[in-house]
């Protein structure tokens, strides 16, 4: 069964349609890359899949549970990396991750493990507000994978990361992680390279949905016209 099945999904904010009639299906352990101009609805789609926003129409099944009714069953199996780090700025990286570890019932050792993995251990005892933007993003990556989620929802995950950090987080959130992934990207080249399936959104509507192998780079450039 597909890890992600979306059929006729619509979502609006007030009268603004952010997503309409989006349908797709994604097999487990594969990567869906979502392209689209600013405001196309990528973040909205991710938040719907993450159970943070209710779909207003359509059927959404995530990891076999249909949203929003069975949302409780998939939380904890999803890792979300959003535009905001979803962390407390007053707390240190370690305190933040320990908090999430308790919520997700994950062993404390795992916290040190992920801190190590994103190379932030040395700075893990400083409040996040004292860290540089890229360091905070690393901690956000650590938070997203802390509970070893089956499905990763990544909203421009490499923003603010330096090239070394991008390599560093590759085993955690890259294709090599073996997880099912939905990635929003603004980088046609890099995005296409890691995609199995490509979704192109424009003003909330699907304009491209195809296996990555069958997508020409020009088609993605076309999206932004």
């Amino acid at each position: 069964m597909a890890a992600l099945e979306v059929e006729g999904l619509a979502r609006h904010y007030g009268e603004r349609e952010a997503l309409s009639d989006v349908s797709l299906s994604l097999e487990a352990a594969r990567t869906l890359v979502v392209f689209g101009p600013n405001g196309a609805g990528k973040t909205t789609l991710l938040r719907v899949l993450a159970t943070l926003l209710r779909p207003h129409a359509g059927a959404v099944r995530v990891l076999g549970s249909s949203l929003p009714d069975d949302a409780w069953a998939v939380r904890g199996r999803i890792g979300l990396l959003a535009h905001e780090p979803l962390l407390y700025r007053e707390l240190t990286a370690r305190e933040n991750l320990r908090f999430h570890a308790r919520l997700h019932d994950v062993a404390e050792e795992r916290v040190e493990e992920v801190l190590e993995a994103v190379a932030i251990s040395a700075r893990a005892s400083e409040p996040l507000r004292n860290l540089s933007r890229g360091m905070v993003q690393r901690v956000a990556v650590a938070r997203a994978v802390l509970h070893d989620p089956e499905l990763l929802l990544l909203d421009e995950p490499y923003a603010n990361l330096d090239p070394a950090a991008i390599e560093l987080v590759e085993p955690l959130i890259g294709a090599a992680s073996g997880r099912t992934r939905v990635v929003c990207s603004h980088d046609p080249g890099g995005g296409l390279a890691e995609a199995d399936l490509v979704l192109g959104l424009r003003a909330g509507r699907t304009v491209l949905l195809r296996d990555a192998a069958a997508v020409q780079p020009g088609e993605i450039a076309e999206l932004y016209r």
Binding site: R54, L87, Y88, E90, R102, L103
Partner: protein, 224 residues
């Protein structure tokens, strides 16, 4: 649920400790407030109705300050979303926040009541203590539940400070009036009596109703 509430409380405590030791802050606050009352009212000691009015208005003020800040850290940094993503009972957030606000109020009272007795109150507190404790406990509970409910509502609607006090104040009026009425005979200069059962009952019922309402509604508040 227990674990989740524990984790949330721990986080609240950490954030609070990181910001300021609230107990000394609160004691200072209480003492200063009573000094202000002393000057404003031009009285060296108060009793009865006036005393209980002052006590409860001070409490109301502190409660509004507490309610305003209750969800600020969570809403600002997306900590809320972080919580919502976890596979835990969402009512845990309600319980944890009610307990946090309750702790805030209790700490305030632990320092404010003795300060009040020392600085302003005419009659001695000794006899009034049991009644006062019961009244304050009932009042605090109501304030905490209503405050949490309203703060959650406000934070979600993204207009927290509009809705926070605007919704909280009318809902808190019965508690404060009930509390003040129940307290005033305790603090009377002559013939202090116990807290009237009628008012305690009212407070208790009010708490109960809003507790149930909050429990029923809270999950909806956290959605979307």
């Amino acid at each position: 649920m227990r674990r989740t509430v524990g984790a949330l409380l721990r986080k609240e405590l950490l954030v609070e400790l990181r910001t300021l030791e609230s107990v000394p802050g609160m004691s200072l606050f209480a003492v200063t407030t009573f000094v202000v009352f002393h000057f404003a009212l031009n009285r060296n000691s108060v009793d009865g109705d006036l005393a209980s009015g002052i006590l409860w208005v001070t409490l109301l003020f502190a409660a509004i300050l507490g309610i305003n800040r209750l969800f600020v850290a969570d809403a600002e940094e997306g900590g809320f979303d972080g919580f919502l993503l976890a596979p835990v009972d969402r009512s845990a957030m309600l319980v944890a926040k009610v307990l946090t606000l309750l702790a805030y109020l209790v700490v305030l009272e632990i320092v404010a009541v003795p300060a009040f007795a020392l600085l302003l109150l005419g009659p001695s507190l000794a006899g009034a203590m049991p009644g006062l404790l019961v009244t304050l406990a009932l009042g605090d509970l109501g304030v905490a539940v209503i405050g949490t409910l309203v703060a959650a509502l406000a934070v979600q609607t993204r207009a927290r400070d509009l809705l926070g006090p605007l919704l909280a104040l009318p809902l808190l009026v019965p508690i404060v009036i009930g509390g003040a009425r129940a307290t005033s005979p305790l603090l009377a200069l002559s013939h202090p009596t116990g807290a009237p059962a009628r008012w305690l009952l009212t407070l208790g019922l009010y708490d109960l109703v809003f507790g149930l309402i909050a429990y029923a509604l809270f999950d909806f508040l956290l959605e979307d």
